[in-house]
């Protein structure tokens, strides 16, 4: 199974997790790290490392972040190993909901692609 962690700017991730948990009425069990720009990045490097470690044996780890190129995302890039630990940025609520409710297994690159497409498909214009 694929394991997930969520790394975002301060205040973003907790609200996203809260919204998903309110919807499904269950704890989602995805480790969350919120990065505050006032703190040294070394703290977060260690937190991310521990979060990945806490997932235990998984077929792969997908790190979800809020904004590509920003500090939370940049910190995570150091952990990326193709096929093992990958990063998916621009995480939106549909993506987090899907990650929390479906047991994605197998290849982490495919899971990343699946969730990216899922996030895109669920951005909608109304009336369309």
């Amino acid at each position: 199974m694929i394991g997930f962690i969520l790394v975002t700017h301060a205040g973003v991730g907790a609200q996203m997790v809260h919204a998903v948990e309110e919807i499904i009425k269950e704890k989602i069990g995805i480790p969350l790290i919120e990065v505050n720009s006032d703190q040294p990045t070394s703290i977060y490097h260690e937190e991310i490392r521990l979060a990945i470690e806490s997932l235990g044996e998984k077929s792969g780890v997908l790190i979800l972040t809020d904004l590509f190129g920003a500090t939370p995302s940049n910190l995570c890039r150091a952990f990326c190993k193709p096929g093992k630990i990958e990063l998916l940025s621009g995480c939106n609520l549909p993506m987090l909901l899907k990650a929390a409710t479906s047991k994605l297994s197998g290849n982490v690159s495919e899971a990343a692609k699946f969730l990216k497409d899922y996030g895109n498909e669920n951005i909608r214009i109304c009336p369309s």
């Binding site: 919807i23 009425k25 899907k98 409710t101 669920n122």
Partner: protein, 92 residues
């Protein structure tokens, strides 16, 4: 295994309509059964076992949805979904 097909039209009665928490309850109920569950509104049909799918229907209070269940436990699935909608998702 017997393959049963049933369908029913229902009106959404809770004030907030088929919003996220209600959709999640509906999906959780549908997932208790092996039968396929489809929910339609107007010309849009969604997988009744997907929260985002059900949300795409944007079914507000008063709207009519069509539930289609197909599979060995379709009757039971329909009955459970009917109860949930009739109970206004235990909201209001």
């Amino acid at each position: 295994m017997q393959n049963i097909e049933c369908q029913k039209e229902m009106t959404i009665k809770n004030r907030l309509g088929l919003h996220a928490r209600a959709a999640a309850q509906l999906v959780k109920t549908a997932n208790r059964f092996t039968s396929e569950v489809k929910i339609s509104k107007d010309r849009v049909t969604a997988n009744g076992k997907s929260i985002m799918g059900v949300l795409t229907l944007a079914a507000a209070m008063g709207s009519t949805i069509r539930i289609q269940c197909q599979g060995p436990d379709a009757t039971e699935a329909m009955s459970a979904l009917e109860k949930l909608i009739d109970a206004k998702f235990h909201e209001d």
